[in-house]
Symmetry: C2
Subunit: 708 residues, 2 copies
């Protein structure tokens, strides 16, 4: 013991520069990783800085395909700019051709002959670039309109809409799994795209204070219960230069999600949702005419349905596709069969009290789907091969930890990158069949060995419902002394679509937790009911009453803290951002004898000021659920503030607009209570770079001022 | 001593409710006053709640003219609304006729016959009402346009301008003594008015966060060095319904100030100023044609000239008028004579190292001007009668204190309302001749006798120039013990046009000073060079370098504090608002080893974000004075912040726009320093009512957290 204590004293102390993204020593203390790994068929490419290598997992052979010097000599000869590393190149063809982009050009290099065989100028101001490898046409947006540049260099303006109409961009505020607005058909002959008319949506008046005199930057922001945007889907044919719009009927108060193509390019599939978000329909449209052909499948739920994955056709059978649904309470795969004689049928392919997180791809030969799932533990993400005929599953890679895999073209190999609570990082090339030998590319060292680390442990407690297990992560103070009494801070998020505790390195501990542990705080995080990866019932028990069940579960975390002999029950604080800012403010008001100090970042204060898509899924509209909105409106309880609460926002937050915190301050002033406040001018919903260091100095300082 | 200490313990302690405007006991602790005193000829009216009395100072007789019940019976019979008290009535005619206004009506009541003899409907939405007693026409504005309603009920729209053009309202942001935009000619036959085109001025994007979704409320705000508004002056003739505009030439970058009429209504006088504000011209225009007739007088100054008083014709000689000027270094009266044979001449009527603050009126019979001046002391304001022929002055009323006087029609009497450091309030009716007997109406009791008061003293120190005397006010902690070491807070304003220390009750101590003294702080205020009522040189030594000399003088105050044995030199704080917020922030950055804690309210951070009129007078333009702007730009020194500084603003401040403090926060974040911040949503440049209580709780709390 004496020796270990002395050793601890020899170790280094952290600064925020070591622990917070944006800090000047942050990357040095992150587990090592390998950039630029990807597949070219079943050969693994290693895109390094100075050279590009190909590695054959079948025989272990590795060869250098080209060097950076060689590439740049080729580019220089044609004045095509410069490549800085091979991290982002790809090899999209069977041929040994490398695709790369410089600032102004997209370029194909023949690696055998060492020559540039094709180039395409990138139009100035092109955003949302989506390049089709078959036709080599580029779809892109400039401002709010969509353009296509074909392989022969022709530039076509697909849309010509006024400012309030966005084309070729993500819609519905990135909900429903949407992250873009350009959808090339499988062979690149047609281009489906989103068109969003938001001219009828109220502007939120964001203000840019960095100009000589502050300037208005209005942002279309549809608030819960208010008029929302209207989305339609166009299909552009570069050959005819004509666009048809899918004849989906009046788009008012509807969501058009998860756009996908049939393999034959004849049909576009859309999962449609009503504004209530309690009824989804999978609909097929004729891509050539826009006609609605068939509603294939629908789901209803008294709370909400939330489609997040486009349908995916089996590569070996264009009559069969995979649909993902939470209809049995957990996200699972359903195999749909559009047999022409038998008609449409479907069967459940995976089942159990765990969820399919993603489809990685297919092994066509073995007729397997490669998925990521939580089958081993809700804290983990593991790859499995699922046999489409039998539904049987086979684990790929280590059974511990949280994996990210890249699948080779045939589906025979994966690059498996994973971390676990005691694994900083491990990268391996594996056969998905479980037969070939595993080739290890990296076992990262523990990067903080030289530092005095706190003890980080995982555990479970019962939720407030008395039956559900909740995971928690507990960080003890550095140089822990069980005879002392320490202040404790709960870090909370608590909302849907997020999970704070996972079987990743150190259980996903946050850098700030470590910093606070070094300053002598006990740090606790509990993933309450309402958070993700635990199934639908776990998540949707919060419906129409956000905050209520979540807080009850957090109070179970407080009970845990109080049960620890070394926590000073009179010095418990709480910190969270976004939904966690809502939770923090709510906990400070609701359990105002428990929490002495809180820091609420970018908080939701009143759900009727939050946007339609996310807000109404969980809360319905203010018109439909006045009681629920009123009960969760924190301005109503501003007078209950007793402890020290600092609210911090990005002054230009487009997600949780400044009106939330400003309304809260007004309510507190009217009620005679005293929150503290800070803003980060020019920042959005989160702080990045140096601002993130400043932010965590600020948060730390607040607990040091008032909780220590 | 023992007895006095015990007595002190028996006395009450203050709360902020007692000491801050908006507090629920604030008015009870203010010196008593008498509302509704005014003149009707040489009879004094006492407008009380229940009755209106007339008092004759010549013989001491008092009679009741009418009761509230009688008035309201008359109004009720004609459905003219209701009068709540006689505080705001007037008697504008020789006849015993009382003028009153209800919400919708202006009404004349014949007090002898107890009847309503005349009414006029007040148009809905009428603002800036200016009623002419001779013609009984009403000039008013609705939105941005000017209207006249004549005695016969005709409504005339004088102007019909688009939104960016304001008519009949104050211009040039109320600088140059301007406080309105409607100027009836002496007999009411013509109406001069301001027209301000601000369509070319940049909008500051103010945001109203109290609406369902925040809404933009753009405010035309010309920042120093940027394009300013253009002002012209129209003359409307209600008889012909025609308007002529004064032919003053291109109004770009010019100020048209101090509009006045000749007694014969034939001429309009304007004091015109260039944008540099270093050259003023008194110009006469033909009111009928708008032609410029003559430039009568001009002044230049290497720093600035600042006309603030319209010319005033002698009632007994329409060829003579009074012009006020600081040209000899102090504001004094100059008598101009437009003798037709001799031509224009002028002579200085008052002279000395003191200033004329105001002209109250005339005693026509005695050929005297009644003025307010600082002749006795810069801390005082006393009334004098100045003989126009001889220039001889005669003091009116007590020689101590700060007086406000109301002059009777003949100029023979004044109602003199004054306070002094040891006089809570005294109201007396006096003869201006010094001959009649003084009639005392009120000697107010000391209103805080029941409370434990701190000791409040006045003194002088030498300014940083080594020669100028500066006044200071020092407040010792309640229950002072010279053997203790106390923290000290400097309250500072420091800018032009203001004076914190005057010979008013308790030397004008602020309620918050008393509160802080009760909490154990030494409170100091010093009126530095640059502040008002000390003459031009005292004020304009700050020209082109605001903050520099002012801070040097404040540091003399710090020296004073340090010389007091009972001040802890390590616990000195500073607080100020507006210019005082600029001073506070500046002091925190510049003398960052001296000041440990500061609270800066509504601060100017960078003068180039302040408005043209005030800003350029003292700083010239950023183009002309880049060095001066840079040196006083506090964002440049954000990295020098060491102590705790809280910046507080009204979130909708239209005077010192939010961009100031937001730019400061951004600079501090970039420099890695940590100011604190708070905003009062919906509030402007100052907090009023309950918000002012909350504000002072907040300010107090900050010093208690970090300076105690």
């Amino acid at each position: 013991m004496a020796t270990s204590a002395m050793m601890a004293q020899d170790k280094k102390s952290f600064t925020l520069e070591d622990l917070i993204p944006g800090g000047n020593n942050y990357f040095n203390l992150q587990p090592k990783n390998i950039q630029g790994l990807r597949w070219w068929g079943d050969l693994m490419l290693k895109g390094e800085i100075d050279e590009l290598k190909a590695f054959n997992p079948a025989n272990g052979k590795e060869e250098t395909l080209i060097t950076l010097q060689e590439v740049n000599d080729l580019l220089a000869a044609k004045e095509l700019g410069k490549l800085h590393h091979f991290y982002s190149i790809s090899m999209p063809y069977e041929q040994k051709w490398m695709l790369l982009s410089t600032r102004k050009h997209r370029i194909l290099v023949d690696l055998d002959n060492k020559e540039v065989i094709w180039t395409q100028d990138i139009p100035a101001k092109a955003a949302n670039q989506d390049w089709n490898q078959t036709t080599r046409a580029l779809a892109y947006t400039i401002d709010n309109n969509l353009f296509v540049k074909t392989n022969d260099g022709k530039e076509m303006q697909v849309t010509n809409e006024p400012e309030g109409v966005l084309c070729g961009q993500s819609v519905h505020r990135n909900e429903f799994g949407i992250n873009g607005g350009i959808f090339w058909s499988p062979k690149g002959n047609l281009l489906a795209f989103y068109r969003m008319d938001q001219s009828m949506v109220t502007d939120y008046p964001q203000v840019n204070t960095s100009t000589r005199i502050a300037t208005l930057e209005p942002d279309k922001y549809p608030m819960a219960g208010m008029t929302s945007h209207k989305v339609t889907i166009g299909v552009f044919n570069p050959a005819t230069k004509e666009t048809v719009y899918l004849k989906a009927g009046d788009p008012t108060d509807r969501y058009f999600t998860n756009v996908s193509w049939s393999p034959d390019e004849k049909s576009v599939y859309v999962i449609e949702l009503n504004r209530d978000q309690n009824h989804s329909q999978l609909v097929r449209y004729n891509a050539a005419t826009g006609e609605k052909e068939e509603m294939l499948y629908e789901e209803r739920h008294p709370k909400y349905v939330e489609p997040q994955h486009p349908i995916l056709f089996l590569p070996w059978d264009s009559k069969k596709f995979i649909y993902q649904s939470q209809r049995d309470g957990y996200n699972h795969l359903y195999l749909f069969d559009m047999d022409e004689e038998m008609g449409l049928s479907h069967k459940q392919l995976t089942k159990g009290e765990w969820i399919v997180k993603d489809i990685v791809g297919f092994n066509e030969k073995a007729k397997e789907i490669i998925i990521m799932s939580t089958e081993i533990s809700p804290l983990q993400s593991n790859a499995y091969a699922v046999n489409v005929k039998t539904g049987k599953r086979r684990l790929i890679g280590a059974s511990e930890g949280t994996h990210r895999v890249q699948l080779s073209a045939s589906g025979k190999y994966v690059i498996d990158n994973y971390t676990a609570h005691n694994v900083a990082r491990s990268i391996n090339v594996l056969s998905t069949t479980g037969k070939g030998k595993e080739i290890n590319l990296l076992n990262a060292e523990h990067p903080m060995e030289a530092y005095n680390m706190p003890e980080i442990t995982l555990g479970t407690i019962k939720a407030a419902d008395g039956k559900t297990d909740l995971y928690y992560r507990l960080v003890k103070p550095v140089n822990f002394d069980a005879s002392k009494k320490y202040p404790a801070v709960i870090y909370v998020y608590g909302g849907p679509h997020a999970q704070n505790i996972t079987d990743t390195y150190n259980y996903g501990v946050r850098g700030w937790d470590i910093y606070m542990a070094q300053l002598g705080y006990v740090m606790l995080t509990v993933d309450n009911r309402g958070s993700s990866n635990r199934g639908l019932e776990f998540e949707n028990c919060t419906h129409r009453q956000l905050g209520v069940e979540e807080m009850k579960d957090q109070m179970k975390g407080v009970e845990l803290l109080k049960s620890l002999g070394y926590v000073d029950a009179n010095r418990i604080g709480v910190h969270g951002w976004s939904f966690g800012g809502f939770m923090t403010t709510n906990l400070m008001l609701t359990y105002n004898d428990t929490f002495k100090v809180g820091v609420a970042g970018g908080p939701v204060i009143d759900w009727k000021m939050y946007e339609v898509m996310y807000g109404e899924r969980y809360m319905d509209t203010p018109q439909d659920n006045p009681e629920g909105y009123k009960n969760s409106d924190l301005t109503q309880r501003a007078g209950d503030l007793k402890g020290r609460l600092q609210v911090i926002i990005g002054a230009n937050d487009p997600v949780c607009v400044p009106q939330h915190s400003i309304a809260f301050l007004r309510a507190c002033i009217n009620a005679g209570t005293h929150p503290d406040y800070f803003i980060y001018p020019g920042d959005g919903h989160n702080m990045a770079g140096r601002d993130r260091i400043h932010l965590h100095e600020r948060i730390t300082r607040y607990f040091e001022d008032y909780l220590k």
